[in-house]
Amino acid sequence: MDAIESDLVIIGGGGAGLRAAIAAAESDPGLSIALVSKVVPMRSHTVAAEGGAAGVIHPDDTLDKHFEDTVSGGDWLCEQDVVEYFIGQCTRELTQLEHWGCPWSRQDDGNINVRYFGGMKSPRTWFAADKTGFHILHTLFQASLKYPSIRRFDEFFCTDLLVEDGRVQGVLAFNIATGESVLLRCKAVILATGGASRVFGQNTNAGIVTGEGMGMAYAQGVPLRDMEFVQWHPTALPGSGILITEGARGEGGILLNKDGYRYLQDYGMGPLDPWPRPRAMELGPRDRVSQAFWHEDQAGRTVNTPNGSAVHLDLRHLGEKKIMERLPMIRELALTFAATDPVDSPIPVRPAVHYTMGGVPCDANGATPLQGLFAAGECASVGIHGANRLGSNSLAELLVFGRAAGESAARLARESTTAPANLEAQANEAEARHLKMLDTTEGERVAAIRAEMHDIMESGVGIVRDAERMGQACERLSALRERYRRGVKLDDRGRCFNTEWLTAIELGHTLQVAEAMAHSALARKESRGAHLRQDGFDKRDDENFLCHSMAWHQGDGPPRIDHAPVTITRSSPRERIYGRDSQPEQPAREE
């Protein structure tokens, strides 16, 4: 097996991985940095983010408001000290991107323009039309080309973290084109592998968002934190799951049930007037808006489409000019994938899984409980999203904590004096395990196991949950993992560009992440944020559950779940109020 030595290995070339790589390169140009990604970096899922990134810059906005919106939006499960650091860094990072050339949308006078997103007291979302993630990712990727110390391993698939003497000292990866393995030795690893939404079927995420980064850390004994908190985005196209950004509502779009009625007023987000106003109606938080859909659907007030029930997102009153200026991609997506022109007719939408609030726990420097391992971006649980992420906080998170992790990992790598461990035996063992899959002649197809996983998660760990269905999901997942272990039948036995094989390896990790989600959900006997129960635990219970869930890997068996305290500094839990009692200091403005 080839071995390649670097100071720092970054797994993931999305927004978090690229920002970390640049930060590490800038903080110490002498450091060798390996940036490893299973797709060429600009194809990472960050490219699909539409709406924008949060940073206080509007004259009406303050850091305190950003803090409050984030912590109350997260239903008080945020690490408040980390949120404090975060909100203080967002604007600086978005400005840094401006300096690197990001085409932020501007006001007429040339200043940065911002818009409202759900759950915000003031407009705070920097945007680049409705392709913010695309522009951020390409800007970062292109900027990263300036740094000769960043060596890219494009289309290398990582399968295992290699731990010796209690420290991560290497990564096993396969070159996808050839199928050859490579041992990447290093002094520190940053995980920036993105979320795990593809654990579910109805999904806004790209096909590569399969959570194996979390799986790799989990397998090494790092707990996964708050995995039950899965965000459903309220407005995705039925069937494909393609996202229609919250920015569409930020610009004034409204949600209607089959009777043309703005049903959110019945779910604690009204009254209607004055409209638009922040943190009310269509600008409520995502958990509440998705949950309201579920109730409308139960009550038979949704419209039927060939791909299931939906409600209408109406943008017609914005007019063609504004739609073309602010939401051009949304118009194109609706035309291409839903045969609907939002200028003339409402877009049918329904909730789909969108974001993984939980992940690998780490501090504000990205340091995880495992020595030498850092995490940043959606795969991490740094503590800013709590039980429900606010839209726009994630793109900002990639930058703020990508940089923090890059700088801290660089520091650790620079200061590390331990002699390199002998990792060959471990790497060979892991490689043999993966190669063995190529010889399996019995078993089920990847697609069959994956479809079953989707069904389990959709039916058992959905928007609204109860003990019975979650319990069934846990049992079915454990049986499914057993079936996976018995064998995945591959048609493809070659090594070169064998995506069937790599998908099978990936699925092994994804199944375990699914299990961590289901068990964490079952153990949380309350409702909070995106975790809504309907079996007598339909209220928040701060006495027993103002705490993080921790899922611990237990080999082939189901995870062990325990709980850990949450850091509260200056905002004690209150009732989360949107709509009526959330009057703005001044009404939301059009521009």
């Binding site: 080309l145 994938f337 493809d492």
Partner: protein, 249 residues
């Protein structure tokens, strides 16, 4: 559910470990009204033949992974729909003009090297220090380059470009459009560094103005226009060089 029909998808197959030459293989694929060519390929991979190899990720025309030739046209397979070909069969091949790694997956390393060669990042002038403030840029100034910043690196334009087909030393449409994106940005002062790429024989002068690149671009980047503008810039630069030799400006 929408009605299911059947279409024949004929795919180019090539495995470098076992095949001496590419060949075609046909699959019968059930499809519904909204199914894309990509979903057709996924159906094949999931249910009929796990060896069929292709790239994809976002399935919403933004990551640039899924380019391929469908009936000889370079397209994004995720936003090309089977209904538009039925009842005829369709033929899916890897993007033209690139070496094949396997089946529909091409080798993109040549393009990535070209992208790097154009200094695709903001190069501010030496005196320009915005400190911790964003620079100003009016909406009109943004418009000057925004169109060229829409490139998703899908490579359809390279597959369409006859010049690149003849001589792959040509820097090519997307990389030159990206070069122009930064040159046209009011915050940038890196034109001179990029001029060498433009002036080189493989730079803008490699282009013979066929314009196919702009025709096939799914993001309306209009590389042909970017190249043309740089031909003008390159001509001016050529004459200017006689007047004020480089380095003595």
């Amino acid at each position: 559910m929408s009605q299911t029909r059947t279409i024949v998808i004929e795919c180019l197959r090539f495995h470098p470990e076992t095949d001496e030459a590419p060949y075609y293989q046909s699959y019968e694929v059930p499809f519904t009204e909204e199914m894309s060519v990509l979903e057709g390929l996924q159906y094949i991979k999931d249910h009929l033949d796990g060896t069929l190899t292709f790239r994809w990720s976002c399935r919403m025309a933004i990551c640039g992974s899924c380019g391929c030739m469908v009936n000889d046209e370079p397209v994004l397979s995720c936003q090309t729909f089977l209904r538009d070909y039925h009842p005829a069969r369709i033929r899916v091949e890897p993007l033209a003009h690139f070496p094949i790694l396997r089946d529909l997956a091409i080798d993109q390393t040549d393009f990535l090297a070209k992208l790097e060669s154009v200094h695709p990042y903001l190069i501010p002038s030496t005196g320009d220090d915005p400190g911790d403030q964003p620079r100003h840029q009016t909406p009109d100034q943004v418009q000057d380059y925004l169109g060229y910043a829409q490139c998703i690196n899908c490579l359809l334009c390279y597959a369409a470009c006859p010049q690149y087909g003849l001589n792959d030393a040509f820097t090519g449409p997307a990389a030159l459009a990206l070069l122009h994106r930064y040159n046209a940005d009011s915050r940038d002062a890196g034109k001179d560094q990029r001029m060498e790429v433009i002036n080189a024989e493989e730079g803008v002068w490699g282009c013979t103005l066929v314009g196919e690149c702009s025709e096939v671009c799914p993001k309306h980047v209009d590389p042909a226009r970017a190249i043309n503008q740089n031909k003008i810039a390159s001509t001016q630069d050529y004459f200017l060089r006689f007047l004020k030799p480089r380095g003595r400006r």
